[in-house]
């Protein structure tokens, strides 16, 4: 081992190693990455199969996309500030930052649902063409993940309320959610680049 540590724990030769819970969650995220990879591959194959329906160029707008991207990007840094507060054991700050992150994420999901409703209303629903089927599958899978993240944020906020210190178990939960939330932001980079911007060139 390149580094030796002072704590002696039974049967572990790697210290400073993050909790096995966090590593397990990391492995889950990697499988999630494969799901998104598959959906991106589907979208890449079907992206020009319009079947006479509207193309991405006609459907997507810069303003809505920019706002969605901004909300998700800002929510990433607010969650980061929450994690920093958690490491300092400042629980009221953690709850405050989680709340801000929740509102930003909620704004993102709201905009996305609004965009989908608008598209379906205009006859550009998932049943219109192969392109739109692939689009709705990919983007709504991401949106569903964000929604799950929102539920998770509220759960942790409730669990944190009224406590005076953050035990290791709670820290693991916050760290897993941190990985989840930042991972979703990375998926969104690929979505706004390859799904939206690439269709708007």
């Amino acid at each position: 081992m390149a580094h030796d540590t002072t704590v002696q724990t039974a049967g572990h030769d790697e210290h400073h190693h993050e909790s096995p819970v966090v590593f397990g969650f990391w492995v889950y995220l990697m499988t999630d990455c494969i799901i998104f990879g598959t959906l991106f591959a589907v979208f890449a194959v079907l992206r020009n199969q319009f079947n006479g329906g509207p193309s991405g160029h006609e459907l997507f707008e810069f303003s809505g996309l920019g706002l969605e991207t901004a909300l998700l990007l800002v929510s990433s840094i607010t969650y980061g500030f929450g994690m920093i507060a958690a490491h300092k054991n400042e629980i009221s700050k953690v709850i405050m930052w989680l709340g801000v992150t929740f509102l930003l994420g909620l704004g993102f999901v709201g905009l996305e649902v609004n965009e989908f409703a608008h598209m379906i209303h205009e006859g550009a629903g998932p049943d219109r063409s192969a392109f739109l089927s692939a689009f709705f599958t990919l983007v709504s899978t991401h949106g569903l993940h964000v929604t799950c993240g929102l539920i998770w944020i509220v759960t942790l906020m409730v669990q944190l309320m009224g406590t005076t210190e953050i035990p290791e178990r709670m820290m693991n939960k916050l760290t897993c959610l941190s990985l989840f939330w930042h991972f979703l932001d990375i998926v969104w980079i690929c979505v706004f680049t390859y799904v939206y911007l690439a269709s708007m060139i």
Partner: protein, 110 residues
């Protein structure tokens, strides 16, 4: 013990400044990608290449500053899983495009 867990060498969780650096870089890269597409200053294929490169760099920025990935020995297993997955996804996406493109050519569906 708990001290070691809440404040390990400072690498595994970021500081305020590292989050802000990451955020500023992400904003610049996102704005650049939007700007390239909105300005129509490059050819279509040039624009596509530019936004692909910008997205790749931004993913690296997020991995480093937000997910705190690094080359430390304590992250070896995380990195191993990650690179296996990236390799898997690359084979998946490129393989799918190759096979489906070939199929479309042979079926003369375009």
């Amino acid at each position: 013990m708990s001290d070691l867990h809440t404040s390990p060498s400072g690498e595994s969780h970021g500081s305020v400044s590292s989050y802000i650096i990451g955020f500023v870089l992400a904003v610049i890269l996102t704005a650049a990608a939007f700007g390239v597409v909105m300005s129509h200053s490059l050819s279509p294929s040039g624009t596509l290449t530019a936004i692909a490169v910008l997205a790749f760099v931004q993913v690296l920025v997020h991995l480093h500053y937000f997910l705190h990935m690094g080359g430390g020995s304590e992250q070896r297993w995380n990195n191993m899983c990650f690179f296996f997955t990236v390799g898997f996804v690359v084979i998946l996406v490129i393989g799918t495009l190759f096979v489906m493109n070939n199929t479309a050519l042979h079926m003369m569906s375009r």
